[in-house]
Structure formats: structure tokens, C-alpha cells
């Protein structure tokens, strides 16, 4: 457990020294959402109608942005080989890196989301559910993304390939994430979409570290 935490701490430390990277993700998220009123026009009703979907799609794309770097720098400087040889299970190494990735990119998105919801004139009833849905959904994105990031390791144009591999897998999270928020605004039950998001998170937590670990072994073999 100490080793797991020291690995998370090291990645957080690295992210903090690189500072800019996680800031870029949030700025991208905000700009992507702010573009929509310019595109569809400033009609408050239309914006309120699409708010949940826009925020979720922008969050998916923003979290894609940083996924490529998840293992890439460690792969390039040889650290990944040494992490593979560290006396702790590779699945825990993956989990530690995903946790650090989520803390530096997913968490800021959740903080920024309510602000953007105000900008898009989203009904106040959806705010709490939006935050809850993002809190359940973004870790799933990081976990599923870690599988893709492991698979594209070492390939040129890894970023584009990663998007093609991973974005389709994000669709269920998107569907239930938007469903929960729209349900809360429309006065329907939003509990079941949230529960399904939670279920997807648990499934990803159980499966993705193994799949990603296998992909890393493949990449270094």
C-alpha cells in the first residue's frame, strides 16, 4: 500500500512540476463548451436543452487529450521497464497511474462543470446530479483510456489511434451520464442511470488494470 501511494505521489509530483498539462485540459474543456453558444446561437432555451450533452461530450474529449501521455513519458525514458520490474503487481502500478491521472485531469473537470452549466443556462435542478454523474463517469474514462494508452504505446500517431480505439467505448458512459442529468431536470428518476454509471465504474475498476497491464507487457516485450 505504501508503494502504491508513493507511486501516486510521484505522478502527482510530476504533474505538478509540469503544471501546464492539467491546466491545458481544463482550459480545453472550457473553450470547447464556450464554443457551442457561438455555433448554435445564444437562444437560452436551446442552450439549456443541450447543456448536459455538450458538457459531457466536452469532458470526454478533454480527458482523451491527456490519455496519450499516461504511459508515454515513462515508456520513452525507461521508467516503465523499471516499474514492470518493481516488486508490486503491475495491475497496482496501472491503478496508481490512473488514480494520479484522474486526480490531475478528471477532478478539475468536475470542479469546472457547474460553472459551465451556469454559462449554458442549465436548469439548477441538474447541477448536483451533473457533478455526481461526472464523479462516477470520469474515473471510468481514465480506466478504459488506460487500456487504450497501453495498446498504442510505441506506435507513431498514437494519439489519433487512441481516440479511434477509446472514444466508441466511452459511449455508454455518455448515454447514462446525460440521461441522469436530463432525468433530474425533467423530474424523472435519475437514480438508475447513476447506479448504472457506478456499475460501469466498478466493472472498469475490476477489468481495466488487468487489460492495461497485459498491453504494457506486450508493448515492452
Amino acid at each position: 500500500m505504501d508503494r502504491f501511494l508513493s507511486l501516486v505521489g510521484r505522478d502527482l509530483h510530476l504533474a505538478q512540476r509540469h503544471g501546464f498539462d492539467s491546466l491545458l485540459v481544463v482550459v480545453f474543456f472550457i473553450i470547447a463548451v464556450v464554443l457551442f453558444p457561438f455555433g448554435v446561437g445564444p437562444e437560452p432555451n436551446i442552450l439549456a436543452r443541450i447543456a448536459a450533452g455538450v458538457i459531457w461530450v466536452a469532458a470526454l474529449l478533454a480527458s482523451m487529450l491527456s490519455l496519450e501521455r499516461l504511459f508515454q513519458t515513462d515508456y520513452e525514458d525507461g521508467s516503465l521497464e523499471l516499474l514492470l520490474l518493481a516488486p508490486l503487481p503491475l495491475e497496482l502500478v496501472v491503478l496508481a497511474k490512473v488514480a494520479a491521472h484522474w486526480l490531475t485531469t478528471g477532478l478539475p473537470l468536475i470542479v469546472a462543470a457547474p460553472l459551465l452549466a451556469v454559462l449554458l443556462n442549465m436548469n439548477g435542478a441538474g447541477f448536483a446530479v451533473l457533478v455526481a454523474a461526472l464523479a462516477l463517469g470520469t474515473p471510468t474514462l481514465s480506466l478504459v483510456g488506460a487500456v487504450g494508452a497501453g495498446l498504442v504505446l510505441g506506435s507513431r500517431r498514437g494519439g489519433v489511434l487512441l481516440s479511434l480505439l477509446v472514444l466508441p467505448l466511452f459511449i455508454p458512459v455518455l448515454v447514462f451520464g446525460v440521461g441522469a442529468v436530463d432525468g433530474a431536470i425533467g423530474g424523472f428518476a435519475f437514480r438508475s442511470p447513476l447506479l448504472i454509471l457506478g456499475g460501469m465504474l466498478l466493472a472498469a475498476l475490476a477489468l481495466c488494470p488487468w487489460a492495461s497491464g497485459a498491453a504494457l507487457r506486450q508493448a515492452l516485450g
Partner: protein
Amino acid sequence: MDRFIGHGLTCIRGERLVFSGLGFTLESGGALVLTGPNGSGKSSLLRLMAGLLAPAAGTLTWNGEAVASDREAHGGRLHYVGHLDAVKPVLSVMENVAFWANLRPGGGPAAAEAALAVFGIEHLAGVPGRFLSAGQRRRVNLARILAAPAPLWLLDEPTTALDRAAVATLEAAIASHRQAGGMVAAATHTPLSLGSAQTLDLGAFETEVAA
């Protein structure tokens, strides 16, 4: 007394047979020097020994137990120095070495500090990795293996970029590691004096296959 044995190892890289039928025995205090021309499989053999690569055929055993059956345990008893130095440009020398030391039993900040002193880079402890020269980066990587004990050292061209004084330090470190019952397998082109060491010429295994 530990015993690390490879038997009938075959390595295939990119559909090309690198070597086959290769065997070695390494015991506590022993050293194995891998020689052979470029591309003869020295690095591949070290990666096989580390468990980073799986052999196409053959077995690796540690005290009679197959290495492949418990990869974490095997990782815990070896240090691997590859072509890349695994030095993070934004972390200081001390942070770099201490991180790897903390991941392993018996390693810690105090051991990391002592290891830096051995390789004469204690004055660089606070310097970020991006300001180091290639030789200094290699010293940091070598200090890493001194900062936490492990019985098996796998060194792939460890003297690359090192000056003469650092090579002598490395030789002394290897000698005391072996005296303490450790074992070393090293691939090298430059002469590295290791005292009594077995030599494994990988070029020989290549010609055997070709014949």
C-alpha cells in the same frame, strides 16, 4: 546460496531467431559477462533474465522455481540497468533515486543518499534531471541500484558514457556486491574487470544455428 539457471533458452525477435539452446548457471557471488557482436542478443538475454521478455523456448529458474510463475518476486530480487536511464527531467537527482529506493524493501532516503555519495554525485542531489550530462545521468541510474539491495544485477552496457573514475567505482561496487553474495550479469564491449567471471559468447550460439 542462490542459484539462477537458464536452460535451453531460445529467443525470437521480429521473426528472426536471435539465439537458441542457450544455457547458463549463476550462483551467489558469481558473475557472467556476455560478449558477442552487435545484434547477437546480449540485450535480449538480459531482458529474458529480467522477465521483461518471455523466452520462445526454455526455462529460467531461481533456486529451482520457475521465474515465470512469480514475476513480482523475481522483479523484487533483481536490478536492471538498460539503455535508458529512467531519470525524470523535472525531478531532482535525490528525488529520482529516492523514488526507486522507496519502491523496494530495504531501500530508503538514507540508502539513496549513501548511494549518491558512492558515485560522487552527492553535490548534484538537488539538481533537476534535465541539467545532467549523459555520464551524470548514468551515474544516477547506477546509484539507483545501490540504494536498495537486490541479489541479482543485470547490467546492459553499464559503462556507456562513464568516465574512467566512474568505471572504477562501478567495478568496486560490483566486487563488494559479489562479496556480499550477490550475482551480476553484464553485457559489455568495453573491458570491465570483474575478477573471476564466466564469459558467455553469444556469437557462438548464433553460428551454431546458422550451421
